[in-house]
Symmetry: C2
Subunit: 329 residues, 2 copies
C-alpha cells in the first residue's frame, strides 16, 4: 500500500556518520539510511551529500518527494535554531555554516537545525525512556558527555541558547584536565575517552588487563563500547575498577543536577548505556540517590538508560520539527 501521508526526514549528523530516517506523523520509522561523513570535505560538498541522502531515504521509504514536509537535523556543536546556522562545530570543522538555508534551497523544503544532544534528549523524552516525564534531563555519554533539559514539554534553551552542558560540570576541582581547558569536568572523569585514558594508564603502571588485546583482535585503535562490554563480561580487573569509579562520578554529577533542577526523570544515553543498559545505570542511580539532598522520595526521580539508541537523534529531530511547524502554521 503506497504511503500518501506527509513525512519528515530526521537526520543526525555525527562526526563519523550521518543517519537519516523517514518519519511518519505517527512517528513510525518508514526508512533508514546511513552514510559516512567526510570531515575533510567542504561544507558545500557535505550539504550536497545531505541533499542526496534525503532523496535516497525517501526512495527507500517509497515516499514521494511532495510528501516531504520538512528536514530536521541534529548537529554536533553550537547552533542557532532560529536561523538554521551551525556556528561552531569542531567535529565537522564548521564555523558559521548556514546549513538550514543552504540545504533548504537545494531541497526546496524547510530545513530545521538543532544541537545533536538536544534532539537526542527530545527523542528519548517524546518516544523513548522519558515518556510521561514532566521535567527531564538527558545525559549522553560517548567520547564526550553532552546533555539537554526538557521543562514543561519544551527544550530549556537558556538565555544564550547554551543550556544543558552537563558534561563540563566540575565535580573534582583538582581533577584531570578536560578538553575544554578546565580540570575535573565530568567529561574528563567519566566519558569513554576518560575511561580509555585511565585503562591505558593502569596498564602502563603494570596492571593486568585484556583490553589492549581485545582491541587488537577486533582491529580497533579506540576502546569502543563493544570493547568495554566484552572486557566487563570477562571480569577484566582494570576495566571493572575504572568503570566503577566513572559510575560513581556520574552518580555524583546526576545528584548535582537533580539537586539543582529536580527533574522527575534522568535518561542516560549514548553508546555505553545502549550496550550495557541497567548494568551501567544501576550503580549510577544508587550513588545519585545516596547524594540527593531530598532523599525521602528519591525514587520519584527515575534514572534510566535510553532505549532508542541511534534513532534517538533523528526521531527527536522529527518530533521537534513537527512541533515547530505546528506552532508557526
Amino acid at each position: 500500500m503506497p504511503n500518501t501521508q506527509e513525512v519528515i526526514v530526521g537526520i543526525d549528523m555525527g562526526g563519523t556518520s550521518v543517519r537519516a530516517l523517514v518519519v511518519s506523523p505517527a512517528n513510525e520509522i518508514l526508512a533508514v539510511e546511513k552514510t559516512a561523513t567526510n570531515p575533510a570535505a567542504k561544507p558545500e560538498r557535505i550539504i550536497a551529500d545531505l541533499a542526496a541522502l534525503v532523496e535516497d531515504v525517501l526512495r527507500a521509504g517509497s515516499v514521494k518527494r511532495q510528501q516531504l514536509r520538512a528536514v530536521s537535523i541534529g548537529c554536533p556543536g553550537a547552533v542557532d535554531p532560529v536561523h538554521g546556522i551551525v556556528y561552531h562545530a569542531p567535529n565537522l570543522g564548521w564555523e558559521k555554516v548556514a546549513l538550514g538555508p543552504k540545504l533548504g534551497k537545494l531541497l526546496r523544503t524547510p530545513v530545521l537545525v538543532e544541537n545533536d544532544v538536544n534532539v537526542g534528549v527530545t527523542g528519548e523524552y517524546a518516544l523513548g525512556a522519558g515518556q510521561g516525564a514532566q521535567e527531564l534531563v538527558g545525559i549522553f555519554v560517548g567520547t564526550g558527555i553532552g546533555g539537554g533539559i526538557i521543562s514543561g514539554g519544551r527544550l530549556y534553551q537558556g538565555a544564550r541558547g547554551a543550556a544543558g552542558e552537563v558534561g563540563h560540570m566540575i565535580v573534582q576541582i583538582d581533577g584531570p584536565r578536560c578538553g575544554c581547558g578546565n580540570h575535573g569536568c565530568i567529561e574528563a572523569l567519566a566519558s569513554r575517552t576518560a575511561l580509555e585514558r585511565d585503562v591505558r594508564a593502569a596498564i602502563r603502571d603494570g596492571h593486568k588487563s585484556m583490553v589492549l588485546k581485545l582491541m587488537k583482535e577486533r582491529g580497533k585503535d579506540r576502546m569502543t563500547s563493544s570493547i568495554i562490554q566484552r572486557a566487563l563480561k570477562k571480569h577484566d580487573p582494570v576495566m571493572l575498577k575504572v568503570m566503577k569509579r566513572a559510575q560513581y562520578y556520574l552518580g555524583v554529577m546526576v545528584s548535582n543536577v537533580v539537586n539543582l533542577l529536580d527533574p522527575d526523570c534522568v535518561v542516560i544515553g549514548g553508546g555505553i548505556a545502549e550496550r550495557l543498559g541497567e548494568e551501567y545505570v544501576a550503580p549510577i542511580r544508587k550513588t545519585a540517590y545516596e547524594h540527593f539532598l531530598r532523599r525521602h522520595d528519591a525514587e520519584r526521580v527515575k534514572i534510566v538508560p535510553g532505549i532508542l539508541g541511534d534513532n534517538a537523534g533523528p526521531l527527536g529531530a522529527a518530533v521537534l520539527a513537527r512541533r515547530r511547524l505546528e506552532r508557526e502554521s
Copy 2:
C-alpha cells in the same frame, strides 16, 4: 494623607528573627517590623506571634485591617506552596506545620507560604539586582548556601518542588564533610560556616590572625559578616587566604550552574555579599567567566551582588503573593 490602597504583608522567617514589611501595590515599603524568633516555642505560639506581628506592622504603616489583601511568608526549609504547609524546617524545629491555613484562620486573610530563598530570589529578580533578566539564578551565601531559579519570569520549581539547591552541588568529591552528609558540597567549602571552620583551623595550626580577637572585642561567638569585613579591611592574612579560596570555589560553582542553565543573570546575595558587594563578587565573577564552556560572550552573563539586603525576602514574598492572587482571580 491616609493610605487606602490594598497592601500585602511580606514576611521573612529566619532562624533568629522575623522581618515583616507592609508593601504597597507599587512595591513601596510602607512599614517594617522585626522580632526575634523563639525556636523553643511551639508552632502554635509562633503562629500567634506572627499574627500579632502582622497587626503591629499594619499599625506602624497606618494601614487599616481591611486594606490587607494577603500575607506572604518565606520560610526556611521545604514547603508546599500549594497548601501552605511547611513540611520540614530544621531551623525552626518544624515538621509538617500547616502555617498557611492556621495563620490564615487567625487573620481571616489569605496566607501564602514559599521557601525563604525562593522569595529572596524573587525579590532581587523583580525589584533588585536582577531586574530585566530573562533567566536568573540567585545564590544566597550565609551560614548555609541556598539558591533559586527564575525562568521565563517564574520560579522554576522542578517536579517535586525541590529545585534550586545550589548549596549542595558537589565540586570537590573528596572535599570536607557537609551538614547534609555528603562531601565537597559548595556549602561545606564556601559558606560562612565553612569560612569560620577554615579560619579557626588555620589559627590552630599556628597562623597569625586577628579574627578571634575581633570576635572577642565585639562579643561575638561566631564569625559574622561584619567580623569578616573588618578582618579583610585590616588585611588579616588568614582571612584573606580563606576568603580567596572560597571565592574560587564559588566561581567554579557559578560556572557549573551557568554551563547547565545559561542564565543571563546570577545574583549573589546574603550577609557577606551585602557587606562586601563588588569586592566579594568580582573574584567570583572572574573565576566563573574563566570556567564557562562558552567564553566568547561570557560577559553577557551578569554576575552581581544582591542589592535589597534583608528586604529581598519580604519584598519577594509580596511580589509572589500578588502574582499568585492575580492568577487565581
